[in-house]
Structures are given as C-alpha cells and as structure tokens.
C-alpha cells in the first residue's frame, strides 16, 4: 500500500481521481459478492468469517473515501465538478456501509436463515453495483453513448425491482411472521438493503449528470 501511494503521487491528478473511484466501486462490488455468498450460508462459523471479510472491505472503503476527500480539499483542478466527485464518492461509500450493516445484523441478530426475498434483493443489489462499476470505468472517456444509456436504464430498473421485492417482502413479513421481534429484525435488514439499491441509483444519477455537463 505504501508503494501504491507513491505511484499514485506520480500520476497526473485527473488519473488519480479515476483510479480512486474505480477502486471504490470495485471494493463495494467485492463486498456485495461476499454478501451474496453469506445469504446462502447456514454454518455460523462460515457466516462470521464472511461478515468479518465485509467489515475489512468497509474499512478499506473508508480509507479510499478519505483519500478522495483529502485530494478534493487539496487539489485545485479536478476532472469534473468537485461536488459531483464528493457526491459520487459518498454514494459509493453509503452503499458499502449498508452492505456492511446488513451483513453484521445477520450474525448480531442471530438470523438463522435468510428469507428468499432477501436473497433476491441482494442479487438485485449486486447486479446494480456491477453496472455502476462499468459506468465509473466510462468516466475516463467522458462521452455519453448508447452503451452508457443502456447501463443507466439497467440501474434504474434494478432500483425499481428492488422496490417491488422490498415492498412485497415487508407486506409478507407482516402477514406471515407471527413473532413481532423477528419482524422488526428482518424489516431492519430489508430497509438497509433497499437503501443500498437507492444509493446505487443516486450514484448513477451523479455519473449521468457529469456526462451531460461534459458532453
């Protein structure tokens, strides 16, 4: 990491921002992948191990976020609007925070089994972040094209899918789960996951705005 940092310092500033944003989204995607794995595990030790891995990625994400914010405060020339970089970085960080929070609750609240709709919601979240990763990579070229448009449509679609799964999951929870404490626990995790898909849409909107402004 020390060497990484040294190499980064040698790169022109614009490139550094792109690299850092790519690191951030890649790190978030990695956490989502582990969350997907976690949602199908039942062995408690296995789950604890995966939760710890996500927590490590969350710390790594905090470092990346902090580096971007420091660069922003110290750099006078940025490849695009300072506040857009800030907003995008925050959205990517929020997604990871919600993934970490949801994962932690699995073990903390002793959830024995991840409900089917929760597995589906996690799948949607993962897919949405995978599209975001492609969108962030396109920022280097800074032109809106057909591929990009399709990509944004997909993120919006995933957010809608997430909403639909979420709403039905909560309604089902209220109807079928008789233990109110269990309702509260699962609802909280669902809300965290759904908020994460919202943040994916926020991130996509910022990227879309950057492209329009720089078109």
């Amino acid at each position: 990491m020390k060497l990484d940092h040294f190499i980064q310092k040698l790169l022109p500033r614009d490139t550094r921002f792109f690299t850092l944003l790519e690191d951030s989204v890649q790190n978030t995607l990695h956490a989502a992948e582990i969350l997907k794995d976690l949602s199908s595990r039942k062995n408690e030790k296995e789950r604890a191990r995966l939760v710890d891995q996500i927590k490590d990625l969350e710390h790594r994400g905090d470092e990346i976020t902090h580096t971007i914010f420091s660069e922003l405060n110290g750099t006078f020339v940025t490849p695009f609007d300072r506040e857009d970089i800030h907003h995008l970085t925050s959205a990517l960080d929020d997604i990871l925070d919600h993934i970490d929070g949801s994962a932690g609750r699995f073990t903390l609240y002793k959830i024995k089994k991840c409900p089917r709709q929760m597995v589906e919601l996690i799948e949607v979240l993962y897919n949405s972040i995978a599209e975001l990763k492609k969108a962030v990579a396109m920022l280097r070229h800074m032109h809106e094209n057909e591929e990009m448009k399709q990509l944004f449509l997909k993120v919006h679609q995933y957010e809608n899918d997430g909403d639909t799964i979420f709403e039905q999951a909560i309604a089902d929870l209220f109807e079928k789960e008789k233990n109110p404490i269990q309702v509260i626990k699962l609802k909280e995790i669902y809300v965290g996951l759904e908020t994460a898909t919202d943040k994916c849409e926020d991130a996509a909107n910022v990227i879309e705005g950057i492209l329009i402004k720089n078109a």
Copy 2:
C-alpha cells in the same frame, strides 16, 4: 405533452424553470388532495383506484424532476442559484415520494381504517403544500413582501402542528394498540407523513433563502 414540450422549448429559459417548478408543486398538491380523499374511504376498490392515481402523479413528478435536472445540467444561466433550484426540486419530489409511499402502504399493509390523528396529519400536510404552491408562484416576482412572510410562518406552523400530532399519535399507538405488528405498520405510515411535512419546511426554507439573496 409533445406540444407542451415544443412550446416550452420556445420560452426563454428563466420562464421555463418557473413553469417547471410550478408544475411540480401543483402535481404534488394534487397527490395530497387524493391522499386526503383516500384517508376517508373504506371501500377497498375505491382505495386501490386512488392509490393508483397517486402512483401516476408520482411518475409524472419524476418526469418533471428529471426535466429540471437536465435543464440545470445543460443551462448556463439560471434565474437563481443552481443549487437552490436543485434543492427545491428535490424537496418537492421528496414530498410526493412520501405521499405515494404512504398511500401505497394503506393498501399493501391492509389498513382497514385510517386513524383520526392520521387524517389530521394528512390535512396539515395538504395545507402546507397549498402554501408552498403560493410561495413557488411568487418566485417569478422575486421580492420579499408581507404576504410572503405570512406564508412562510404558516408553513413553519404546519410543520410544528405536524410534529405535535405525530408525537402524540405515536405515544397513543404505543399505549392503545395491543397488536405490535399493527403498531409497526401504522408507525411507518406516520413517519412517512411527518417526513413529508418536514420536507415542506425544507422547500420553504430554500425559497426564503432565494428571496433574501435576490432582495
């Protein structure tokens, strides 16, 4: 709508922003009106129809919001600070989202009867948006006057009224409703409605700030 769009393109840019903001607040007010109607209905089919109407307005609102954001990104001259237009647009959109979310929960959670305090909170929300509509209309003239001041005081008063009703409603819910699942369902709807009245105050604060800066 195609013709509308064509006419809009011919208007000077400043006027377009005002028109779009007026469309947005009018659309939100319309949704609040239907929500008021919904809160007194008991027939399930009637309710489902009204929920659908609000959902349509929410989609219309998303379109208006998206148009304003695109214009913002593409226009270099705006009648007032870009970030103020952004913030105001977001607040108006948030109000509508919360109206839509609350309405949808009525049917999704199979709420048989809207509690009296919820009817009152919806009334306060409607009144607050009605004042906001007047405030948005005044942006065209861009000077603070006595009427404007009274109007802001009213929005702040409605936010306070909303808070008081909300807090007492939740305390009563905890005391009187013995079914915890029902408590969770109704509390969630109350929170959505109360957040909507908060967003009305946010919107009013932005408008007030615009007027002070342009005085």
Copy 3:
C-alpha cells in the same frame, strides 16, 4: 439579547461567524449535559422539568441556526467556504434536534428507567460534543496542529464507541426484552442517540476539511 445583537452588528463579519458557531456548539453541549442528568433521574416531575429545559435550548439553537443562515445569505465575504459553514451549522443543529427528540421520548413513551447501555451512549455523545466545542474554538486560528489532530481522532473514536454500544444494545434488546412495544420504543431512542454521534463525526469532518483547505 437585544444588546448582544447590537454588539454583534459592530463586530467584523468574520468574528461574528465564529461567535455564532461557538454559541451553537455551546448550546448543544449544554443540552447534552442536561440529557446526561435526565438519564439518571427517576422522579417524573424532575424528568419533565429537564425535558422542558432541553426543549428551550432547542428553540435557542433554532434561532442561532437561523441567524447563521441569514448572515450567510446576506454576506458576500465569509471566513471560509459558504457551504462548509452551512454544513457545519446543520450538523450542530441536527445533533441538538436528536438530543431534544430523545429526551422528549423519555417522558412521551413513559420510559421508567434508562437502560445502562443508553446511559453509556449518552456519555459518549456528551464527550464527543465536548471535543467538537474545542474544535470549533480552534477555527479562529485556522491552522492544523497536533492538538487538533488528536481531537479529531477522539471524535472518530467516540463515533466507533457509540456504534459498538448501539449495536450490542439493540441485539440485547431483541434477546432480553419480551415486550415488543418496549423494544420499538427503546430502539427508536437508541437510533436517535446513535444518529447524534454520527452527526458529531460529520461536524468534525467539515471542520477538518476547512482546516486542510486553509492550511
């Protein structure tokens, strides 16, 4: 207060901002002190009196916030970025709002006894605001030094401590409290307090950013 206001008008603008921010953080710290006191009281009348005192401070805080925002809108020269002052002021105001909200719920929800972990969380919140007060005072000198760095580290540490206490408190609540309504009530207060410690970190981040930019 009339005289105060008069003296303020005579001061150069920069100094006014510093004084107002110091007033804000001092007012918030005062509320946290009363909240600490409240958390150990059992007599209902005593508690109601302390809740009222916090409500008064919250109104005072609203006035300070409103004054800062008015000055911001009316002043062209500010000692540091307008949006940073806005963000810092909002964070300080949010902390106080959450203190006030939590205090009010103690009496509104008829919480007989503040759980041990809640007392601990309030202690952490108080300590964090005490560090913030020192950080705000340092804004006048505008240079980053060792003392300042230690201070930010402490705020981050308090936020982590708050998180840990919060997560364990909620897990314990789910495990030990058999009354679901009581779970909902206490959880809501915990969330408010934990959000307040998050906002302390937000405020510290803004101050840190200001110092880096002005280094």
